[in-house]
């Protein structure tokens, strides 16, 4: 018996050693990543398009800090930072010896130029408000950057880790759209428009250990069946994010591939025009919340690759409060609420679905079926994305729609009464303002929790599910992010097993 135990122990030890050596990153190799949408330019400080960050974030460009795959804020161009007790002063200690891909040095003056550009009057930055809370920028020496805010901003660090806050070399903003120069582990090689962006290892990267890969190609394949074919034919290594759920299901059974069912920051919601009849009545919105079986919706619309949510907050993000139990699936309750609201026989409404997003289209179809069970008859209108932006988002010419909100920390949209939900709640705005000003973690948790609860109780939108990250890759791809705490396809620590 003892012998057997010893044998097992030795075997286990050998296995451990074997796996450890197998996990040792190998340098070199050319990774081909499929990103669905081609980016509109490559400058993340001029455009919020997710497709840009998916190519450049932490690959070509870096900010003072960055988010890693576990959602932690980790040092990038700032080695470390301190926040004063009153939450007003941020001191960033910048890394020494950092160079841009063109050889120019990165220092406090460069950082200052970038911040001032984002705040300036002629800014093309989609989020100047991230930076306009800065009252003063000081650069006591080349490697120290002191920012003083006008008032505490609980999300300031979050924003400094986003693509909007990456650092460009002085004067290179115009070029960044087509020939980006950053400080990241990869430098830009070429952009074959309509096909791919190629980057290669930057030998002067401040972290001599990284990157592992010699070259990365981002290929743009919008069609999900073409993506699957490309992966199977060996033309690409990774479908970067949100692969087709059926493909994911099929390939998860195949040992040659890996499918990650991780988290994202995308909340898929049944956006509701809170000023359009009959959705201005909270009872109608609550009835819809009761009438939607979220678990079943996730199964039907995305093959189970999603997590039901009860408010506009992702389960993987800090300060999350599980509110999925607030309106459990209960069609009888929905019928009763509709009756109280004066719709004993239900009503007709239109749901506009963007053709671009498969999950949104399918969710809309499933919801139309679920709501029909309580007498809400939806007519489905499928529209293209630019029209969605114009008619639904800008002109609020809609009753219902389904869309995923991908931006992290975006509950602030409920504090804007003219946002397309047209939700106007002083109570929410107050809670949100408090959350932003909170300086301790407990206070942040409390107030962000209150924010989530208020919009859930008001049933502002149908809170459906959070999308799974769903990248699919060949088995030899190592170090790929499982969870997507921010919008990125960070290849800095990815390597290819041989």
């Amino acid at each position: 018996m003892k012998k057997v135990a010893l044998f097992v122990m030795i075997a286990a030890l050998i296995c451990q050693v074997a796996t450890a050596s197998a996990q040792e990153p190998v340098k070199g190799g050319h990774l081909v990543v499929c990103s669905q949408a081609e980016p509109p330019g490559l400058d993340p400080t001029a455009n919020t398009a997710a497709a840009i960050d998916r190519v450049v974030y932490s690959n070509i460009f870096e900010g003072l800090i960055k988010l890693d795959g576990q959602g932690r804020f980790v040092p990038a161009l700032a080695e470390r930072w301190e926040v004063s007790g009153d939450g007003l002063t941020y001191t960033f200690h910048l890394r020494k010896g950092v160079r841009f891909h063109n050889g120019e040095a990165f220092d406090a003056k460069v950082a200052r130029w970038n911040l001032e550009r984002a705040m300036g009057e002629k800014t093309q930055n989609p989020h100047p408000e991230y930076f306009r809370g800065i009252a003063r920028i000081e650069t006591p020496d080349d490697h120290t950057l002191v920012l003083t805010l006008k008032e505490p901003d609980g999300l300031f660090l979050v924003h400094m880790a986003e693509g909007d806050a990456v650092m460009l070399p002085v004067g290179a903003a115009e070029e960044a759209k087509s020939r980006p120069i950053g400080t990241g582990p990869f430098k830009f090689v070429q952009w074959v428009r309509g096909d791919r962006v190629e980057v290669e290892r930057f030998d002067g990267y401040w972290n001599p250990r990284l990157p592992y890969l010699e070259r990365v190609t981002f290929k743009f394949i919008p069609d999900s069946s073409a993506q699957a074919a490309a992966l199977k034919a060996g033309d690409i290594h990774v479908i970067g994010y949100q692969a087709n759920p059926e493909t994911a299901l099929e390939l998860s059974k195949d040992k040659r591939y890996k499918v990650y069912n991780g988290t994202t920051t995308t909340e898929v919601i049944l956006s509701t025009n809170n000023k359009a009849k009959p959705f201005d009545d909270i009872r109608v919105r609550q009835a819809m919340a009761y009438a939607i079986d979220r678990k079943r919706l996730v199964d039907l619309a995305v093959q189970g690759f999603g997590t039901p949510i009860g408010s506009h907050w992702c389960p993987s993000a800090p300060y999350y409060v599980d509110l999925t139990g607030l309106y459990p699936y209960n069609p009888d309750k929905a019928l009763q609420l509709l009756k109280e609201a004066g719709y004993p026989n239900g009503f007709d409404a239109v749901i506009k679905l963007p053709v671009t997003y498969e999950y949104a289209r399918r969710s809309g179809e499933v919801i139309a079926d679920m709501l029909s069970k309580v007498g809400i008859r939806l007519r489905i209108e499928v529209i293209e994305w630019a029209q969605w932006l114009d008619r639904v988002f800008k002109n609020k010419d809609y009753q219902l729609t389904v869309i995923g909100h991908a931006e992290p920390w975006d509950i602030n949209i409920y504090a804007k009464p003219d946002y397309y939900f047209q939700y106007d709640s002083p109570r929410f705005r107050e809670a949100y303002a408090r959350a932003l000003k909170a300086s301790t973690e407990e206070d942040k948790a409390r107030y962000f929790g209150t924010c989530q609860r208020i919009i859930a109780e008001d049933a502002v939108n149908g809170f459906l599910f959070s999308l799974s990250s769903l990248p699919i890759m060949k088995a030899e791809v190592m170090g790929w992010w499982e969870n997507y705490p921010t919008i990125a396809l960070d290849c800095s620590e990815v390597w290819l097993k041989r």
Binding site: G41, H127, D195, A226, A229, A233, L389, R391
Partner: protein, 316 residues
Amino acid sequence: MGAFLLRRLIGLLLMLFLASAAVFAVLFVLPGDPAQVVLGVNATPETLANVRERLGLDRPPWVQYAHWLLGLLQGHTGRSIQYDLPVLELIAERMAVTGPLAVMAIFIAVLLSVPVGIYAARHHNRPGDLAVMGLTQLGLAVPEFWLGILLMMLLAVRLGWFASGGFPGWSVDFWGSLKALLLPAAALGVIRAAILTRITRSSMLDVLREDYVRTARAKGLGERAVIYGHGLRNALIPVVTILGLQVGQLLAGAIIMENVFYLPGLGRLVFQAIGQRDLPVVREVVLFMAAMVIFVNFLVDMAYARLDPRIRDPKA
């Protein structure tokens, strides 16, 4: 001939002018704000206004149209909003894919359809002819994108002989680029061949019943000389007409095929540009495509003249 050319040239310019007005008007009434598409949903109104101003979208539509048209006349094409490059450069880049793709597709279509059509006509109502008719019926019924997907599944995914799509670029890998176009060109060409085979066959059948063919046979010419010397040339006129019309369809078909095989061609450029409301690109690519179709029709007219001396010189 000179007057004929001049007339055609004026007609061509007029048509292009009409096309420019039509595409501008359609894009203007189509809902969608390029600045919003570029900046995304969370952009502030201030940044939106800045970008609109930079793109010149804050000016009245007729000013924008006049500005565009005058620019074109002076040889200034627009600048892509998405790519921030001159549209002309983009068109040139993309034509390096779509042009060869279309030429290869036509080549495959003609190479398949003319011999097979002649064969079917010569074996009229015999098993060979019936088989050809059956196959072409199938070809007419099958959508080209479906054939493209089938070819991809079989030859790329299953057998691994071809890449499933994409385009390495002529300067990077010439043979690889040629190979990348082969499957989509085959899918486009085979479907085109179906209709062309039928036209060749029926046209050939008509010609073979003509008196001059009987005369040729009566004077003792061999079958080859009758078919190729007297029959084919006359039978080709309707084939060339259809072929000319097919070029326009081919550009439309290329849009779908380029999406199936994710080729960076003109079709995908315009498809994407419409979705992104990259107005300068849409306008000028559509105009370019219109010019191409008009130009091909002009070539078809020239080809008639070459095939039929009576068109070239009415007195003959």
